[in-house]
């Protein structure tokens, strides 16, 4: 009789093995009641597990599914799932690696923008489900001395993602979801790269295009680089306006003072 852990590991093997290469787990065969019937009953669980995970990916990547079709999507998703099962039961967090998988998925090589559209959809999914956070309270800055002020960094709202994509994935994503064939046909597929800011506001998830300089400025702040350092390095004429807009939009939720020597460690 297998110990519980041994049994659960053997079942995992059976549930996610390729149908053709059915995992040989003798301890499981010995443990299951009724021979032929048990294989058919195990298949019920196989179908449920796989379809629940394919569905989770379908919900997070609707435009990718429209671009490749439902059958193609299911085949790609199944291959991805077998290689990378979720590490948490919170399925809104599942699929971060799917865009990378699609970029290297040979049967989709013809759709050069597929990985970019998937990256954008993952950022949208993140923005949709990210936890709520309080708005940045700037009054604490008043208590800092000049030296500390020069080392102030910001923490971005968990819904914010900055993407630099080689293809105009935002335009593709929009026209695909709106099923607007005319808009799709009008897209200049060589019109990249695009610099995107994905976030959540009161109206829902927003995908905004930024200029390259504004994006670079924002990306550095979101990565935790101190504001003074970003300003000094960039000499951005518009930096005041960009920063004011970020603060007004609630894109930062916290500030912290970076240690003087170690450039990015938090106090």
């Amino acid at each position: 009789m297998p110990a519980l852990l041994e049994l659960q590991l053997a079942l995992r093997g059976r549930l996610f093995a390729e149908a053709s290469s059915a995992d040989d787990a003798p301890s499981l065969d010995d443990a299951l009641l009724a021979g032929e019937d048990s294989a058919l009953r195990l298949a019920i669980y196989r179908n449920t597990c796989m379809s629940a995970l394919v569905n989770a990916l379908r919900l997070s990547f609707p435009a990718v599914q429209r671009l490749v079709g439902a059958d193609f999507f299911e085949a790609a998703a199944q291959q991805f799932i077998r290689a990378s099962l979720p590490t948490s039961a919170y399925l809104n967090d599942y699929g971060a690696d799917f865009p990378g998988f699609l970029s290297h998925f040979a049967p989709a090589a013809g759709l050069v923008y597929l990985g970019d559209v998937a990256r954008l959809e993952w950022a949208v999914n993140r923005a949709l489900h990210a936890g709520d956070a309080l708005r940045l309270d700037l009054t604490g800055l008043a208590g800092l001395d000049e030296a500390a002020l020069s080392r102030v960094s910001f923490t971005a709202h968990p819904a914010v993602t900055l993407l630099r994509l080689e293809s105009p994935a935002d335009a593709i994503w929009r026209s695909v979801l709106e099923q607007n064939d005319a808009a799709m046909a009008a897209i200049d597929l060589t019109g990249g790269p695009v610099h995107l800011l994905v976030e959540r506001d009161a109206a829902g998830v927003q995908v905004r295009r930024l200029g390259a300089a504004a994006w670079e400025f924002t990306a550095q702040l979101c990565a935790g680089r101190p504001l003074y350092a970003v300003l000094a390095a960039g000499r951005h004429a518009m930096a005041d306006a960009w920063l004011a807009e970020h603060l007004a939009a609630g894109r930062f939720v916290q500030f912290y003072v970076v240690a003087p020597s170690a450039g990015d460690s938090r106090l």
Binding site: L40, I44, A89
Partner: protein, 294 residues
Amino acid sequence: MPGTVHNLSEHSLIPAAAGIGLRFAHHELVLQARPDVAWFEVHAENFFGGGAVRRVLENVRRDYPLSLHGVGLSLGSAEPLDGEHLHRLAGLVRSIEPGLVSEHLSWSVVGGQYLADLLPLPMTEEALDVVCRHVEQAQAALQRRILIENPSTYLQFRHSTIPEWEFLAALAQRTGCGLLCDVNNIFVSASNHGWDPQSYLQGLPAAAVEEIHLAGHAVRVLDNGSTVRIDNHGACVAAEVWALYVQALRRFGARPTLIEWDTDIPAFEVLLDEASQAATLMRAVAAEDHACAA
């Protein structure tokens, strides 16, 4: 502060009446129309994040008693519980203050990977020890009693030594947890394994049963000609399950009863009709008690 809910005490308790499992498809309708439903239950994991769906939950919580039903804690895993998952659940429970919190007698996680289904446990002393330990850990983290639901299963293990109803009774006795009696699951599992559903009901400790679930299931004929009932929550409650529900009411008394529907979700009116049927049966069985007492 986001997430703060006021006037919790007004709607904290789940009444012994018919409630409905609230799914995304009906969020808008419930917010707009405020239908006459005694209480709602939601899947906890759907509200671990923030944003619009969390606002929906807070809104519903203000006007209805609310129960949280977890599907991902994997209490039957041989390995330790996912601390992050339990932490998220505890945060949601703190902020929503639901009337009931429930989970399943099953497992979904092994090797740190989530297999996305409520998988069957062997009914052994080892599994009982594991589930007791995890239920105690969950109750400590959530700082409240939780209910454990009997599963629907399609497979049995040769080395099982404890009938499922005795396993649940021992779990309730050892951990102090309550039980969620899913009548459809009893019917499905009893049919699939040749158990007697009456014995199952009789074997559950009545005082521990704090909630009842009802749902529809599918009947599938396997390639070898045998029939399996599949708990797909995709149909009206079957006539045999309504009959078993009456038996459950006679045994346990009136209990909060939930209508669940997750596959091919129908118009909300269909769920209201099912809930109304449950309420009618609850009243009828209560009247029997009166007749006996008189």
